[in-house]
Each structure stands twice: as structure tokens, then as C-alpha cells.
């Protein structure tokens, strides 16, 4: 051990110490802020967004559309609730498919578990591919391929969020504590036993939280999928827009909001119960 440290001697005077002082905000930080502001100004100019005009004009337009949307028309609530329920079913089934497909993909697109680089690369490519294509586009293609209805919605959500979940899992797996894995290896466990006892228990809480988050997100997305003909409340929404029935539009928006509100609280509750 260094003797000087142990003697606790401080013989630097004020002048000497001043040399050590650095600015609290580094040059790099200031430059970064400046660059960001510059980019922001450029983007607003480039998109020809005029905030002042936006604010003055919007009050006029908003007032107009709002008056046409009120009061909300709940006259055929039964029909709407049924469509909403269909939307939730689409989201549920889509999420289930996503979970089932993403488990093997997630395991093999984690660098520390993939059996070899080739498998890793293939899985990773599939994951990135489906994450890159929005479910809207997948749904549009599937509607053309297999026709209107719930099926294209379910598959579109399943395939797109499969990519999401697999990425989450793979990242969780790459960050697990390696100690227990060593312990399992030292007692001669096979690779699947190591996954079952060392990997899965470690990622389980994150696994459940991610799945709930994706379910929550898929319900929101499923409300929109009907717009491209993939079933559910979105279809009602779109036809109401087409017929200029804005009072029904507002009723549907309220219904969507209430549904999401309930699901949000439900999934938060479940997540809080899982450690």
C-alpha cells in the first residue's frame, strides 16, 4: 500500500488545487446541445411548420370538428362493444402467437446461447426483418392474400411483435448472471437443463412484464388494424369516418379510451404482483 495515502497528509495549497478544477458542463455537452437545437430548427423549417399559424388557425378548425363530434352517439353500443371485444381477442391471440414464436427466436438470437454463429445470424435477421415492417403493412398484404377478417389482424400483430419480444428476450438473456450457469455446468447439467434452471428463472420476471406490455400495445394497435380491413373496432371507426358520422366517431374513441384505461391498470396490477 502507498505510504502517503495512509498518512492522510494534505499539503496542497489553494492555488495548486485550482489547477484541477474542470468546468461542470464539459465542452462536449455544450456542443451536443447546440447541435441538437440546430437540427430541431432545421427540421421545423424544412417541414414548413409554422407554429404561430398552427395555434391561431387550429382554434377555428378544432371548434368546428368538436361541435360536429358532440354529443357522442352511443345508440348502437352493443354493436360497438362487440367489435371492441373482437379487437381485444385479436390482440390476445396475436400476442400469444408472438410469444410462442419469439421464445426459440429469442434464445437463439442471444449470442451466449446460440448453438453457432450461423443460427444466430438467421434468427437475428428474422427478428430484425419483422420488427422493421409495421403491422399495418403486414396486415395490408395479408388482407390481399387471405381476405378481410380477424385472421390477417392476428397474424400481422403476431409476426410484428414476435420480432419485438425476441429482441427483448435476447437482450435479457445476454445480461443474465453467469455465476449460476457455472454452477450448473460444474455439476454436469446439459444445455437444455442449463436453460431451464439457469436462464429461464433469471429472465422470468422480465418475460412476464414484456409480454404484458406487448399485450397492452397490441390492443391499442388492434383498434387501428380494422382500418385496413383486418377486423375489430377499427373497421367501425373507419366506416363512421366515411359516412361523416362524427358523433359515432367520438363514441368509439371514448370506448377505446375506456378499454385501454382498464387494460393499462390491469396489467400494471399484474406486473406489481410479479417479482
Amino acid at each position: 500500500m502507498n505510504k502517503k495515502i495512509l498518512e492522510l497528509k494534505v499539503n496542497n495549497n489553494k492555488k495548486d488545487l485550482e489547477k484541477y478544477i474542470k468546468p461542470q458542463w464539459s465542452f462536449k455537452t455544450l456542443i451536443s446541445i447546440l447541435v441538437f437545437v440546430f437540427v430541431l430548427i432545421f427540421v421545423v423549417k424544412d417541414l414548413e411548420i409554422n407554429f404561430i399559424k398552427l395555434v391561431t388557425d387550429s382554434s377555428k378548425y378544432f371548434g368546428d370538428i368538436l361541435s360536429r363530434m358532440l354529443p357522442p352517439d352511443f345508440s348502437n353500443l352493443n354493436e360497438l362493444v362487440y367489435a371492441m371485444f373482437e379487437t381485444i381477442e385479436i390482440a390476445f391471440l396475436g400476442t400469444f402467437i408472438a410469444i410462442v414464436l419469439s421464445i426459440p427466436l429469442g434464445l437463439f438470437s442471444a449470442r451466449n446461447l446460440a448453438p453457432n454463429y450461423f443460427v444466430y445470424l438467421i434468427c437475428k435477421t428474422i427478428v430484425i426483418f419483422f420488427r422493421a415492417i409495421p403491422e399495418f403493412i403486414i396486415a395490408m398484404i395479408l388482407v390481399i392474400a387471405i381476405g378481410f377478417g380477424a385472421m390477417p389482424g392476428v397474424l400481422a400483430l403476431g409476426l410484428h411483435t414476435m420480432g419485438f419480444l425476441a429482441k427483448f428476450y435476447a437482450e435479457d438473456i445476454e445480461h443474465i448472471n453467469k455465476g449460476p450457469i457455472d454452477a450448473l455446468k460444474s455439476s454436469g447439467a446439459t444445455k437444455s437443463q442449463i436453460i431451464s434452471f439457469g436462464v429461464i428463472p433469471q429472465i422470468l420476471p422480465a418475460f412476464v412484464a414484456n409480454n404484458l406490455y406487448i399485450l397492452d400495445r397490441n390492443v391499442r394497435m388492434a383498434t387501428m388494424l380494422g382500418i385496413v380491413g383486418a377486423g375489430g373496432i377499427g373497421y367501425e371507426l373507419q366506416s363512421s369516418f366515411r359516412m361523416f358520422e362524427y358523433e359515432r366517431v367520438s363514441a368509439i374513441i371514448i370506448l377505446i379510451f375506456v378499454t385501454i384505461f382498464i387494460i393499462d391498470h390491469l396489467s400494471a396490477f399484474i406486473r406489481s404482483k410479479i417479482k
Binding site: S186, S187, A189, S192, Q193
Partner: protein, 240 residues
Amino acid sequence: MLEINDLTKTFANGTPALKGVNLKINKGEFVSILGRSGSGKTTLLRSINGLETASGGEIYLDNKQVNLETINEVQNKTGMIFQEFNLVNNLSAINNVLTGLLSSSNKFLSLFYLFSKDQKIDALKSLETVGLLEKSYNRSDELSGGQRQRVGIARAIIKKPLLLLADEPVASLDPKAADLILSLLKKINKEYGTTILCNLHQVDLAKKYSDRVVGLVDGKVIFNEKSNDIDKNYLEKIYA
């Protein structure tokens, strides 16, 4: 019972961790390996049970050479205890202990945590040995450090190994818990005749609990004597 001849290990990044280790350990001995951090203690233990592959030299356990073909047998005859316990936190104590039996379990059923009644009885016996029968179904992250290490010991002894490899088993514990853990290892050593190879970094603990002390410096054995003959001051000098 364990014979190590001219063992070398150089890691992929070029770090030489072991530079020709020679060591012989008799059946039933409690041997401590003392050495500074970075002297190669962990690497030595991990080479014995195949967690690391040696670069050169030979290891014989129970008169059989340790290599890829015999590694399963070697892992069945050895148990390992770790500084950081290395339990799976989300699992109960008993499930952690049962993982010590995975190599001899049904390869399919075990994936779903299904074990035979005899295996569960063995796990409970093992937990009773370390004084944690009452905590069998507690999650391991509900246990204190000392208790976790006792679960680690129960896991290591459940298959009745010939050799226990303990890598700084008390370095993460307070002195009281450390004494308890080492006494427990000593008891296992005496009652079951289990040979113990234990990395430590406190000279007094090594002298108190082991039959023999091996000093490791920079990947080489520079000291190998019966605990009774040890000059503590000399050891502390080479060690510190």
C-alpha cells in the same frame, strides 16, 4: 486421489494464469490454497472440473486423467462452491440443491423441475446437514449470505462427491459466518471423508482449518506444507 502435473493455462487474450502447477492431494485431506488476487487460484480449481480447459499438463482424479471423455465422470465425483454462491435467485433452496443432481436425472422430466421422491429426500437430507431444513422452500434471495452459502454447500454435497472444490467460499461473508462455513466444511471433511480443496486468502483461516497449505504466486506453487509446520509470519510476508 488428485494429481496435477505441470499444469499450464494461458487465456485466449494471452494472459498466463497458470505456469506449471504441480500438486498432489491425498484422500481425505483438507488443503487450502493461499494466494493473492490474480495468482491463479480460481483458474486452478476451474481446470480440475472442466470449467476451464488447460493449455498443457495433466490432471488425474481418482487415477483417471481429466479430459473431454472423462469430464462427465469427473463432474459427478466433484462438487463446487463459489465465492458469490451462484445460486439461482428466483428458485427455492431445495430446487437449487436439486440442480446438483441434474446430471443423473431424467433428461426430459428435469426440464420441468420434476424430480423423484428419493431425489427430493436426498435434497432435504443435504439441507438438514447444513442446518437449513426449515428454509427448504424459501426462495434463495430471501436468505442471508451465510445461509446462501450453506445452500451452495448442500448443492455441492448432494451427490456425495469425492472432492469438494471451494473457491473463496467465505470471501463475501462476515467473520462469524465465515467461521461457520469453514467449520461446516471441516465437519463434512471429517465425517464423510470428503477431500477438500479450498481457495482462501486469509492465512489464519487456512492454518486453522486445513491439514495442508499450498501457496500460489503468479501461477506457480511456491509453498506446500502441513499447517502445523507453518510459520505464519513468513506466509503473511509472501502473501501480502
